[in-house]
Symmetry: C2
Subunit: 170 residues, 2 copies
DNA sequence: GATTGACCGTTCTAAAATAGAACTGTATCA
DNA sequence: TGATACAGTTCTATTTTAGAACGGTCAATC
């Protein structure tokens, strides 16, 4: 399967994986959320080859996750900063970090801690239901084909998208 | 950089990426959460080559995300099912799906809808702070080095891990 | 008893992606 | 004049992946 094919799959996971489903993209995004913006700094902090870095930045820009903004003329220099679409990736990044915090730490403990400025406390991210606010577990979720499913199932046509409590994380 | 090197990085994101940071692992996990368990069924539904599928399943078992369980003797046949560690990946999967739902849908709408059995409603996942319950945004989060950081910073030693409201999703 | 098919992989080769290092080009600084 | 910063591109060797075929065990069928 080619990467391009993933984009066209009738599956939101596959489509997202087409954008961020490789290690370098995820690591680059980690740096973005840590306020890294410039080619050299990405390269130094990640140890990625320049070739791949150029390639991945281009891809993320093409998908609208990053924006390439000139910060000086002559020579032209660009910064890569997160768009709103990119900022919306925050829950993905945080849930990945959280899983690592729980399952991949050594005896020394967590490499990083997160403080919520709103309440001033160290926190973990918790995923809850937009409708009732309860924490989500896989077993408590039922999956229905939606309008964009491969074979449309009129039986389920009454199913509606959730109310607009959807939150953008940025 | 080798994949093995990622595991040893002082970063929970990198360590998690070492486990699930490739497209096939994520797609395999999607199938797992849809109750797929057998080699052939994975292969047929994903279109992955058998070689890679064998390889990825082995990796996920090695990392303790899947468990290989015999379901018949002669010939020995195994199923791959999620461990608790694997079930805990649910928030990652869901946040990936959610981002795709928001940013990668075509005019036909979402391929899938999710119903929360607890409240009976179609929902979106929302990531909130374990301490105050408010939705999280990248800008409202401050990062501190933790005890497992590369260079320990005694200045930040007072920082503590969050209280045990951490929720396992399964 | 031979054949077919299900199941779970392994082996093989060609194509694609990646690593690692060197190179390019503009501009600033000493 | 020479050294340094920045943002890439080019090159070759190695590694990974794709795609197809092959193998082996057992159950069910002819």
């Amino acid at each position: 399967m080619k990467w391009d094919a993933l984009e066209d799959e009738p599956c939101s996971l596959a489509r997202t994986v087409a954008v961020i489903g490789d290690r370098w993209s995820l690591l680059i995004l980690r740096e973005c959320f840590l306020r890294i913006r410039r080619f050299d700094v990405f390269q130094a902090s990640l140890g990625i080859t320049r070739h791949l870095l150029a390639d991945r930045l281009k891809k993320l820009v093409r998908f609208g996750v990053l924006r390439r903004i000139p910060y000086q003329e002559s020579p032209k220099r660009y910064e890569y900063i997160l768009t709103q679409k990119g900022l919306d990736l925050y829950p993905i990044i945080m849930s990945i970090v959280h899983w690592g915090n729980i399952h991949m730490v050594d005896s020394r403990g967590r490499p990083m801690l997160h403080e919520h400025k709103n309440c001033g406390r160290m926190f973990d991210p918790v995923m809850v239901c937009s409708e009732c606010g309860e924490p989500l577990t896989a077993k408590a979720v039922h999956v229905h084909p939606g309008p964009g499913a491969r074979r449309s199932s009129p039986v389920h046509a009454k199913a509606q998208t959730p109310s607009r409590r959807t939150v953008r994380s940025g």
